[in-house]
């Protein structure tokens, strides 16, 4: 970035990014100003260059996958980067029905729907109590919850497998839901406790004085007030649970109950069921598109939800 001191008039040709006007450039500007002005120009070109390269590196693999999902198997192998000769939609329909993508989608929706609801309900209940009530053991329980954020899940998975087996929860969707909820609680409680602490106490007290029970105060007054926090933490959990791979891989091996991520991996392992690479790519894109589309529509909330926790 030291090349920038070459602020010769020759560089400042019309249309060059540095020549942003006529006012100061020639002589009157104080030296440091002038140097950094042209620094801005070179740097601007440089930064755009670098930024665009990374943007291409992010988008290319995704576009490549979409393109490949419309090609025949032969075309995938012979010319990976060529455009498809025509759009082979049959890859998609084959993946949807024969490769069981529809089942995987349904399972994922059921599991994520159930566990998201449970996570938000249980998480907010625990967080509310921990944030607003003083009782012996409060701090202990709080740290018990948030301690779970730093432990490697894989360590607990070995005994968990047998706990689930003994309770006949292994390979069931409701078992998976319970586990998802349990492993989502640490972050959810951590986040929502901080959130409930920021809410004003006066409203809840007023409701209580008016004769509402604690439970009623919580559901009718506090929860609606906590909506922004619930949305943030909800998005965080939604993506985490939708994309979960480790837990289902260990706890849910029944073929027809597989969720999306493990189903896709299963397909790939069995050589894209009988060497059907195009169908596999169609499945891959099928799993990718809904989340990407949702992200593009709700990107503000998604970004806020995902980054909210990490900054604290």
């Amino acid at each position: 970035m030291k090349t920038t001191d070459t602020a010769t008039p020759g560089v400042e040709t019309p249309g060059s990014p540095g020549g942003s006007g006529t006012e100061v450039i020639k002589t009157v500007a104080p030296a440091p100003r002038k140097a950094s002005k042209s620094e801005g120009a070179t740097l601007n070109v440089f930064s755009h260059g670098v930024l665009i390269i990374w943007a291409i590196m992010v988008v290319m693999p995704l576009l490549w996958a979409v393109m490949t999902s419309f090609k025949t198997d032969k075309a995938i192998f012979t010319s990976p980067w060529a455009l498809p000769d025509k759009l082979h939609f049959e890859n998609w329909s084959r993946a949807w029905t024969e490769a069981h993508m529809s089942d995987y989608f349904l399972n994922t929706i059921l599991v994520v729907g159930g566990s998201l609801l449970g996570t938000l309900l249980f998480g907010s209940m625990a967080a509310y109590v921990l944030a607003r009530f003083d009782f012996p053991g409060n701090r202990f329980i709080y740290f018990l919850f948030i301690g779970g954020m730093s432990f490697p899940i894989i360590l607990a998975l070995v005994p968990l497998f047998y706990v689930m087996q003994n309770m006949a929860l292994l390979n069931t969707l409701h078992g998976l839901i319970l586990v998802y909820i349990a492993y989502s609680l640490p972050f959810t409680v951590f986040f929502l406790t901080a959130f409930f602490r920021t809410l004003p106490t006066s409203v809840a007290e007023a409701a209580f004085v008016d004769g509402a029970s604690h439970t009623r105060t919580f559901f009718q007054v506090m929860l609606p007030m906590a909506k922004p926090g619930l949305i943030s933490v909800g998005i965080f959990n939604f993506l985490g649970q939708w994309n979960q791979y480790l837990l289902p891989t260990v706890l849910n091996t029944e073929p027809e109950r597989k969720v999306l991520s493990q189903g896709l991996v299963q397909l790939a392992v069995s050589q894209g069921y009988k060497g059907d690479w195009s169908g596999l790519f169609a499945g891959l894109v099928m799993a990718m598109l809904p989340v990407l589309a949702a992200y593009i529509i709700f990107q503000r909330q998604v970004v806020a939800g995902l980054t909210a926790g990490a900054v604290k």
């Binding site: 950094s36 990374w54 980067w81 409680v189 791979y245 990490a310």
Partner: protein, 309 residues
């Protein structure tokens, strides 16, 4: 607010706490206990063996390999990811052409870049791993055919099949998928740094390089540090398990000659493939210690005077 308070507290805490204790706390406690037994996981019978598993672990070559790889992940990945993300975020927020009177300016279209960079973050790590597994395919993969296309037909690495390259290939994927998150995170942090700091520095003749190290980085340090820990825990835990398990199939999983095996994958293999549940939990304990040590070291190294603004 006293009336019925304790009944309410117990009522609200019971279900979440029970769930958490049963599926998270209890297995954790158990796994430490099991690491002192010879439990296979297949039969309910087992006996105490003291530190046998631990001494066995110290003699286990594959354990040392996976430890070494996991350590590499924990050191290299945060360094590269956080470094790249800081670089991009600084470009986005400060790299732009200066408009009239402004001390700093973001590049045009910075919000567009942020949206695009974030893409991989919303995708399942399993999907990302599968996608790159195809891209790395030595015969018909996207990467090698690009090499062929630009006249480098003689350079056709085996990528994931090459023991020397496989680990790097896997790490690249993790970097690819996480950089965007940190770019957005750091951008938010940078946007909250008051502009007059930059203006003052500019009047003193500081260039952007100096500005970055003297103003941006110190003021962003807390965020960088928590990002660092977050990335390290990811690299030691579930994310590394998923990419390695999916991308490097090999005869036994973990790449050619265990060249990509990482601790979480080794735990998984021992427990669910080899029927050595007790030994698996021992390796898991090692992973836990490594994770805690990593966080402690980063916190210690990162301790600085807190800057308020």
């Amino acid at each position: 607010m006293q009336h019925g308070k304790y009944r309410f507290i117990v009522g609200f805490l019971a279900a979440p706490l029970a769930l958490y204790a049963l599926f998270v706390i209890w297995p954790f406690v158990q796994s430490i206990y099991y690491s002192f037994t010879d439990w296979t996981g297949l039969s309910p019978e087992f006996g105490m063996v003291g530190f046998d598993n631990y001494s066995r672990m110290l003699d286990d070559e594959v354990f040392w390999k996976s430890l070494q790889h996991s350590l590499t992940f924990a050191v290299v990945l945060p360094l590269v990811t956080v470094g790249l993300a800081l670089f991009f975020a600084f470009m986005l927020n400060v790299g732009g052409r200066r408009r009239k009177g402004a001390a700093i300016a973001g590049v045009r279209g910075s919000s567009f870049y942020k949206i695009v960079y974030f893409f991989p973050q919303v995708l399942s790590i399993a999907i990302v791993a599968l996608l790159f597994q195809f891209a790395y395919n030595p015969n018909s993969g996207a990467i090698n055919s690009v090499l062929k296309g630009v006249g480098l037909g003689s350079v056709q690495p085996d990528w994931l099949g090459d023991p020397d390259l496989a680990l790097i290939c896997v790490m690249v994927v993790l970097v690819w998928s996480t950089v965007g998150f940190f770019v957005v995170l750091f951008s938010a942090g940078m946007a909250s740094i008051p502009r007059d700091f930059y203006e003052a520095a500019l009047l003193d003749g500081a260039n952007r390089f100096t500005t970055f190290f003297k103003i941006t980085l110190p003021l962003l340090w807390d965020t960088v540090q928590s990002g660092w820990i977050y990335m390290g825990i990811l690299a030691l835990g579930a994310e590394s398990f998923a990419v390695v398990q999916i991308m490097t199939v090999g005869p036994s999983g973990g790449g050619p000659d265990y060249s990509t095996i990482v601790l979480p994958l080794y735990v998984y293999q021992k427990a669910f493939r080899d029927g050595q549940a007790a030994y698996a939990t021992t390796i898991g304990v090692a992973l836990l210690l490594l994770t805690l040590a990593f966080a402690a070291v980063v916190m210690k190294l990162g301790r600085r005077e807190r800057l308020e603004f």
